[in-house]
């Protein structure tokens, strides 16, 4: 499409645009359904039967079952939706970030208390590629 995606070169993130929204639609609709207790109860009683109501892809379904938080985003999930699944599991936004960054809760929290992740070296994909080249 001719609208250029000038945000595609930001590393370690997704921009939830229409293409991702289409891809993740059923996954995200499943996630938001968990905002209601009646649905959380039904999901927790029988995950498979509940997931059958949302015609998502097999990969998306597996990522839900695995609670593979990054994979959910790669497959079109959006963090505000996937956080509803996390909330169901008793995981808050900060704990979820500990999981997604692979840092774990303690190290992630310590980074935030120390002022957070610096924008230096985190603006462009090329900066991340260089880092990987170094290691």
């Amino acid at each position: 499409m001719a609208l250029k995606k000038d945000y595609e070169d930001i590393p370690g993130t997704f921009v939830f645009d229409a293409d991702r929204g289409r891809e993740g639609y059923q996954l995200n609709q499943f996630c938001i359904s968990l905002r209601l207790q009646v649905n959380r109860d039904a999901f927790n009683a029988d995950e498979g039967a509940y997931l059958d109501k949302y015609p998502m892809t097999a990969d998306q379904r597996q990522a839900v079952i695995d609670r593979d938080w990054n994979r959910l985003l790669e497959l079109g999930g959006n963090i505000y939706y996937t956080s509803k699944l996390a909330a169901n599991d008793g995981i808050n936004f900060q704990q979820l970030a500990g999981l997604m960054t692979g840092m774990g809760n303690e190290a992630y929290r310590a980074m935030m208390v120390a002022g957070g992740r610096s924008p230096e070296g985190n603006r462009y994909q090329s900066e991340w590629d260089d880092k990987e080249g170094d290691s």
Binding site: D17, I79, K84, F93, M100, G116, R117, P119
Partner: protein, 289 residues
């Protein structure tokens, strides 16, 4: 006639609501967050607002992916706190000035803003957390001290409205308020931000320098600030930092000449840089003194 006299910019971090609801605001982690709102609560009380026009976003709570309005104006009689996955927040139901809200809706549409009118709506932390930090602890059986007209902006699915559009919407809201006959003191809130990235491998990004210049330029250079492209928010302030477009609505609704009467900035609350500012129209300040 009704008048907008002041503006409030304010992060709406859900964890701030949780800290208040759980009564853990005295913990060392939270003390510096809430200290910065002490003066704000005094100011808010003294301001004696009749109505808050509150610009916020829903976080895939009340609006699912089936219907995504760019600007949804709350015209229902009241707005209950929504269940965001762990039960509704124990705070009062928000009451609307319904006649004024639908006056504003009509005025905005005739002014060529393509508003979606919401005659039923719940509200999530995006709206209730700013109310809590500005008014303090209130239980579900209490009442908020003033009425609230909510404007819910899509900032989740790209693209959010442009900063320019938001700024001009602020001007249109001002025209709508000023054409409402009742004599009302209106304060406008722009909420969300500051820098934060909640998702994926870059989660935790905080850009204090960028946030600081954003707060500075709200007073000194608001028109140019509103021209900031989406990609700059995403790159510099994190994928969820784009929420800050909503502050331009607030700024656009004020006079060109404003005074910053309070600022608060602290890192972190959960994943987020907490930012907060209070702006008064200069002419309203002079009148008040």
């Amino acid at each position: 006639m009704a008048r907008i006299t002041a503006g409030v910019g304010c992060s709406h971090v859900p964890a701030i609501g949780v800290a208040m609801d759980q009564g853990i605001t005295e913990q060392p982690y939270w003390v510096p967050v809430f200290e910065g709102f002490e003066k704000s609560r005094e100011w808010m009380k003294a301001q004696n607002a009749d109505v808050i026009f509150l610009v916020y976003n829903d976080h895939c709570t009340v609006f699912d992916a089936s219907c995504i309005p760019t600007f949804a104006l709350g015209c229902a009689p009241e707005f209950a706190p929504a269940d965001e996955g762990w039960g509704p927040r124990p705070v009062p139901v928000v009451k609307n000035h319904q006649v004024m809200a639908s006056h504003i809706a009509q005025s905005l549409i005739l002014d060529e803003f393509d508003i979606t009118i919401m005659n039923e709506m719940e509200v999530d932390h995006g709206l209730t957390v700013p109310m809590s930090v500005m008014f303090g602890d209130k239980g579900p059986d209490d009442e908020w001290p003033c009425l609230v007209i909510p404007l819910c902006v899509n900032v989740v699915q790209y693209p959010a409205p442009t900063g320019n559009r938001c700024y001009n919407l602020g001007k249109a809201i001002r025209r709508a308020v000023e054409s409402f006959d009742e004599d009302l003191n209106v304060v406008i809130f722009g909420t969300g931000g500051m820098s934060h990235q909640l998702q994926y491998k870059r989660a935790g990004l905080i850009n204090k320098e960028w946030d600081t210049q954003f707060l500075d330029r709200l007073t000194s250079d608001p028109v140019a600030l509103s021209q900031t492209p989406h990609v700059e928010y995403l790159r510099e302030a994190g994928s969820e930092g784009v929420e800050m477009v909503m502050w331009h609505v607030m700024r656009g609704a004020l006079d060109d000449d404003v005074t910053e009467v309070h600022r608060h900035y602290h890192v972190p609350a959960s994943n987020t840089a907490v930012g907060h500012i209070i702006l008064e129209n200069n002419k309203d300040r002079i009148a008040a003194e």
